[in-house]
């Protein structure tokens, strides 16, 4: 399974699953990160510690730890 963290800058992918704990999952969902949503990787901080993604018109910063929990597939 491909994780969001594996994506490169500029990749556009679709979320297939959230592997987070309930609390974090709720948080991600409230940011609009949920199954079936398309996201684009905009920027990566040095050594991929933090990444910036785009969903719809919103930009969100995530840490590598969280990006690992998001399963994606290419579109």
């Amino acid at each position: 399974m491909k994780q969001l963290l594996d994506c490169q800058k500029g990749d556009k992918v679709k979320i297939t699953k959230l592997n987070a704990t309930n609390e974090l999952k709720e948080r991600l969902i409230s940011f609009g990160l949920m199954k079936g949503v398309e996201v684009e990787v905009l920027e990566q901080a040095p050594r991929k510690k933090t990444i910036e993604i785009k969903i719809g018109k919103m930009r969100i910063a995530l840490r590598a730890e969280e990006a690992k929990l998001i399963e994606v597939q290419e579109i």
Partner: protein, 710 residues
Amino acid sequence: MNEKKSCPVISKHIKVALVGQPNVGKSMLINSVSNAHLQVGNFSGVTVDKTEVLFDYENHKFTVVDLPGTYAFTDYTIEERVTRDYLCAENYDIIINVVDSTNLAKNLQLTAELLTMSKRVVIALNMSDEAKKEGLEIDAKYMSELLGVSCVKVSAVTKEGIVELITTVIADFESSTYEVKLIFSEAVEEEIAKIVAYLQGHKYEAINSYRNIAINLLKNNKKTYEKLHDDPIWIELQPILIEASKHIELHHDSDDIKESFAEEYASFNRGIVAEVVKQSVQVEQKTLTEKIDNVLIHPIYGIPIFLFFMWTLFQLTFEIGAIPMDYIDAFFGWFGDAIGGTIPNDDVRSLIVDGIIAGVGAVVLFVPNIIILFIGIALLESTGYMSRVAFLLDGFFHKFGLHGQSFIPLVTGFGCSIPAYMSARILKNDRDRLLTLFIIGFMSCGARLPVYVLFAGAFFGPEMAGNILFMIYISGALLGIMAAKILKMTAFKGVDEPFVMEMPKYRLPSAKLIWHTVLTKTMMYLKKAGTFIAGASMLIWFLSNYPHNLVLQEEYAKKIESSTSETQKITLGNKLAESLLEQSYLGVIGKFSEPIFAPLGFDWKMSVALQTGLAAKEVVVSTLGVLYALGSDVDAENNSLVNAISKNIPFPSAVAFIVVIMIYLPCLAASVVFTREAGGVKYFFYLLAFTSITAYGLAFVAYNVTKMIV
């Protein structure tokens, strides 16, 4: 009813709760309907506490409650808990749900949740000016029909639609028909119908509609659950619910009912957006924000660019701030002389001139520097750059056990520690929050700037002083981060919290907004100078003038009389002043504590200034101002405080002094807020011990190292 009859013209009171996701312009909207000056900034989590604003419109009295922004109806962070608790437990008449027109689909997620509450909702489609610029056209009327909820296009910036929003709120408040049209997928609707039928069958009594109760039950809403749990019908209802949840989860191929509902909402919202939003202009491949981000959060140049900005800010703080300084100084000198000339009584004159005017003047002197610093912080907060720096520094922060979002309270701390302590509420985890609270003090607040400017100006030429200032701030921040690491490894051990943060689009703040922000903060500084600092200066003056020692005075008076040369007279006069000061109350306190501070190279005056500085950092400067104005060694031509300091304080002692100022307790007011936010007096004592020991230890090292080098 009776009230109405007896008093028919009484104006109606409407209490409105303002709810919305973060950074959609709730606070700004209130500012534009009333004459309030709530804090506005372009990042999530500006408002962290509820604030009530009152205003009148025709014959209606409005109370609007500004609430912290919240992404969903959860209690993820403290500020979100404030909002949820308010909505669930407090009394209000109507909700205005503020949404960002340029990002409707995401904002409607929260709206959908609000619509299942028993309170009436009006939707304010804010930022309509921005939407227009981006070529988005929203049909508010159609949207109102689709949702069954009034929707009004507004802009908090251009004030368009504000009146319509208020009249809509009044009309909706007075009308009794209200039917929300929130429609789910067939599978969910079926289950809702079943539960509604059951509730109808048992004539369950409730304020909220059966449909909303059914939805809340299915969503696992705690409050609704608790209510029904104690009802006799629960025994029959529970199996129906369990069955229903299973169906819905199956339908969504998920084991989480909340996730399923989020998806339901999302698809409903997509439907609404598709119906009411028209994109008239073709969107560009890359938005302006993305283009700017390509530079500002570049993996390599991002951090150097940030450091450059900070350096420039401190350079300007010193350079531009220094220009009016001479005039202010001259003004207070002249003012003191002018006032002093009219007061015959020696003691009263000294109290006014050497106490109040010298003390307050020493603080007001730095207003220009403070204004520039405040402008810098206001720009950081209002352009959207703040979140970018949090993004850039997160990796670095993470290494030291800090959360990336800690950056926001920490930056606020450069202005003043009090709002910074409050804004730490945006951190979800209590451990992260406490950790941040403990190190906010390391970010030198605006009140410490005068001390730094004073000392930097006393020991360095104008070309270097700005750099020194920058260095002081950076080393303070670095020390703070190192302190965080130590605390994280010892006191606040624990797992790292997730970091998920929205990055707002860049906005060009209006000059008016910056002006207001800076003005409010500057006025606060001046007000403090005029009240608290003036009072403290009087106290310090009193403590440094009493008890009078007549024997000493007479003794010197004789000596002065008998001396022949002018210079000798002056030396003797200075000596007298110095001896008098030393045996005053303050002198006694200073002399008593001098041995404690002797290893850091402080004389008794510096020791006293540090102690009075516990009340507020500005008092450090005013204490020095009073002590050196009264004391000796002030030559006639140039009696500025800067000169007095460079003459009386050796460089290594000055360095150690700055180190202590950088680290020790911010001030009395901040300590109170700290204690409240940390949740216990014991934390205050931890902070006191932690900062005092660190300050002393590092100052000792700084003193000795500097002594070796110089």
